[in-house]
């Protein structure tokens, strides 16, 4: 038994361990010196939607992509490369490592998109600089789809004393965006505008008659690709008396083009209306009750300009107006926004029609 532990045997074992360790170090070094593999980002609509990994003879299950920790996504096998599809696009400025088992085989950083594509604020509606005290909403139009859910961190209403007003806009989540993510609708708090509500009595209207205001949009607001607005934007306006009257189609004046021309047919609504509803609730019908196609342009919230695709014929045309058309205080053609049921009556027409003659 004692012989088994003789010093020779022990010496050999030590040697074997030394050789073994040296081999392991060499092996590790050889791996470390292996040229890193070439990873590439896959782009779609300026978003990094994948990583292309040029690998063969791999075990898919052993691959993982790590940022702070392994990220959720899926791998797809192509002929001589593997595609990693993250659950959401990879984030500009962050680095991602590709691991094969316990070995990191590459790393890449997602670059920021070109500043040339930075978003702009292209319009704020109402366009005019005088608005009624009971104005209900603003529209903000951007050149690119913006990040949603954070509008109230970037839009401020400032009074003439340069104080930023609190609690003037209603925080609606999810926010009201058009389907393209470029037009935001922001309501001034209806609870403060609706006459006689507790809020209205306690805090009063968000806007005060004859006061001047500025609406500011911070340049920190980013679009969906992570680029900030090119600059901060400001719009100044003054507040006039509250509007508790329904828009009246009978008061509209028309300027009628000549037959055989492609001149504009123009409606002057005599009062400011909701920009988008004004554009989409009016149609022109010809004598056969068919829609006349053409281009609509709204000028200063009040003028509806229509340029037909084809020339006008002489005869009677109809202007068909959907009653959901609202003015700046959300009074529509059927009822005022906050109807005094003891005085005003609501009607339930769908359409109001007027006609004009082309000679």
């Amino acid at each position: 038994m004692v012989k088994l532990y003789n010093s020779n045997c022990y010496k050999n074992a030590k040697l074997y361990v030394m050789y073994g360790l040296a081999f392991l170090v060499m092996l590790l070094l050889s791996y470390c010196h292996r040229a890193p593999i070439r990873l590439e980002l896959i782009w779609k609509n300026n978003r990094a939607v994948g990583i292309s990994i040029p690998l063969k003879n791999y075990v898919l299950d052993s691959l993982k992509i790590v940022n702070v920790r392994e990220i959720l996504g899926s791998f797809a096998e192509h002929e001589n490369w593997i595609e990693f599809k993250p659950t959401i696009p990879l984030t500009a400025g962050l680095s991602y490592e590709v691991w094969n088992g316990s070995r990191q085989i590459g790393k890449l950083t997602v670059p920021f998109p070109s500043g040339k594509l930075a978003p702009k604020l292209t319009a704020i509606y109402p366009e005019r600089d005088t608005v009624p005290e009971n104005l209900l909403k603003f529209y903000f139009v951007f050149s690119r789809p913006m990040r949603t859910g954070e509008a109230l961190r970037h839009i401020f209403l400032i009074d003439q004393h340069k104080d930023t007003l609190k609690n003037v806009f209603l925080n609606v989540q999810p926010e009201l965006w058009d389907t393209a993510g470029k037009v935001l609708t922001l309501w001034l708090d209806p609870g403060r505008i609706k006459r006689d509500l507790v809020l209205n009595k306690k805090l009063g209207n968000p806007l005060i008659r004859n006061a001047n205001y500025e609406i500011k949009i911070s340049s920190e607001w980013k679009d969906r690709n992570g680029l900030s607005l090119t600059k901060a934007y400001t719009k100044s306006f003054v507040v006039s008396a509250a509007d508790h009257e329904m828009p009246d189609v009978k008061k509209w004046s028309f300027s009628v083009p000549d037959a055989g021309s492609k001149q504009a047919f123009i409606i002057d609504a005599k009062a400011a209306l909701d920009h988008f509803l004004f554009a989409e609730t009016i149609t022109i019908l010809n004598q056969e009750n068919k829609i006349v196609e053409g281009q609509v342009r709204i000028i200063k919230d009040q003028v509806w300009e229509f340029i037909p695709k084809k020339m006008w014929n002489s005869g009677t045309y109809k202007v068909q107006v959907y009653t959901r058309l609202e003015d700046l205080a959300a009074n529509n053609l059927n009822r005022v926004f906050d109807r005094d049921i003891s005085k005003e009556k609501a009607t339930y027409e769908t359409i109001v029609v007027r006609s004009f003659q082309i000679k």
Partner: protein, 369 residues
């Protein structure tokens, strides 16, 4: 074995063997296999066993799909994950500024927690979280689903019979009760309220789909259309009610049997909620054998109201002279609750923005609300 028997046995074996090959079990609730077109997930609610409704505000549609997550869990574990937004961002490979949690729902059967998350670029993600804080992406590809378009009316011409278009651009809340999916919506253009009650399974038939507009009258004088922010259902004296919170602060009850196509429903206001009250969720919980409605607010403390109070309060704050100040509320010591759902009779799962700005996921202790 004799030859005829051998053939018979072979035939039976063959039939049994191949019977399974072409056999496709019918999908429940008229669903089809496929990949729904989902642009956003802004609201979640569970329907019958394992069926999850996804509200897609961007597409103005609701998708129902079978999660197959239907194993009964009678002793659900608590959820507790600090900085849940940070953790979600990490598993998605981004930072917390780049994600938002839009809704949360507990599967009432399996007690699994589902989260609707949106990345900064708008990509919708449906995640589950386990009580051990493991996240999984719920794939929405090749799933059994059905959907309903909320603006299926051809743009201008289809309206309810009183001539209002009830178009939705944003789903403010979803609910499911008594075989009906209820959807409250807001429009990004006209100031209107849209509340729809749609029979499930979706039939596409008009009589199974009621849209209505809701009005709110202040002191018997001023009447306005009133979009709903969040709602829940309850039964009072044997009658089913929707209890809803409007954008302009009041808490309103209206009878479910009044929800008929084209109806003009005026809710009975049972409380005025005060300044900048932005309710996020309404649920029902039990405490000491009593039922309470718990309403979470994203800016103010959550409140609870006892069911008995609601049942007893027969007044209507919309009358000229309000009988009282409405039902009594008890403010709860929880501020800024972003998401709230029921885990079991006594416990709620909460996502809360803490004073230091952290967003934590936690579960109430079941002893007090």
């Amino acid at each position: 074995m004799k030859k005829p028997y051998l053939f018979l046995t072979a035939a039976i074996a063959g039939t049994l063997l191949f019977a399974g090959i072409n056999y496709k079990p019918a999908l429940p609730y008229g669903m089809q296999m496929g990949t729904p077109d989902i642009k956003s997930i802004t609201a979640l609610t569970f329907g019958p066993t394992g069926i999850l409704f996804l509200g897609d505000s961007q597409n103005a549609s609701v998708i129902s799909f079978d999660t197959k997550d239907a194993e009964v869990n009678k002793a659900p574990k608590s959820y507790d994950l600090k900085q849940v937004d940070q953790k979600i961002a990490e598993v998605l490979g981004t930072t917390k500024e780049n994600i938002s949690i839009l809704d949360m729902a507990v599967n009432p059967v399996s007690k699994q927690l589902y989260l609707a998350v949106k990345s900064a670029d708008g990509t919708p993600v449906l995640l589950t979280v386990s009580p051990n804080n493991e996240f999984k992406v719920v794939s929405l590809k090749d799933i059994p689903f059905s959907s309903v378009a909320l603006n299926n009316a051809p743009a201008e011409d289809a309206k309810d019979r009183r001539g209002r278009s009830l178009r939705v651009s944003s789903i403010s809340d979803l609910g499911f009760a008594k075989g009906k999916l209820m959807v409250s919506g807001l429009s990004n253009k006209e100031f209107s309220s849209s509340f729809r009650s749609i029979s499930f399974p979706f039939t596409g038939k008009q009589e199974d789909d009621s849209s209505l507009e809701m009005y709110h009258t202040a002191h018997g004088r001023y009447e306005t259309t009133s979009p709903v922010r969040t709602f829940s259902t309850t039964t009072i004296n044997g009658k089913d009610y929707v209890i809803a919170s409007y954008t302009c602060t009041p808490l309103v009850l209206f009878a479910m049997d009044e929800i008929k196509p084209g109806a003009n429903v005026k809710g009975r206001t049972i409380a005025e909620m005060g300044n900048q009250n932005t309710p996020t969720d309404l649920i029902w919980l039990k405490e000491g054998g009593q039922n309470f409605m718990v309403m979470a607010n994203d800016n103010r403390p959550a409140v609870k109201v006892s069911y008995d109070e609601i049942q007893k309060f027969q007044g209507n704050l919309t009358e000229k002279v309000a009988t009282t100040g409405g039902v009594n509320f008890t403010a709860l010591p929880y501020q800024k609750i972003l998401q709230l759902d029921k885990l079991d009779d006594g416990r709620a799962v909460v996502i809360q923005r803490k004073a230091n700005g952290d967003i934590d996921l936690w579960t109430t202790d079941g002893k007090t609300i």
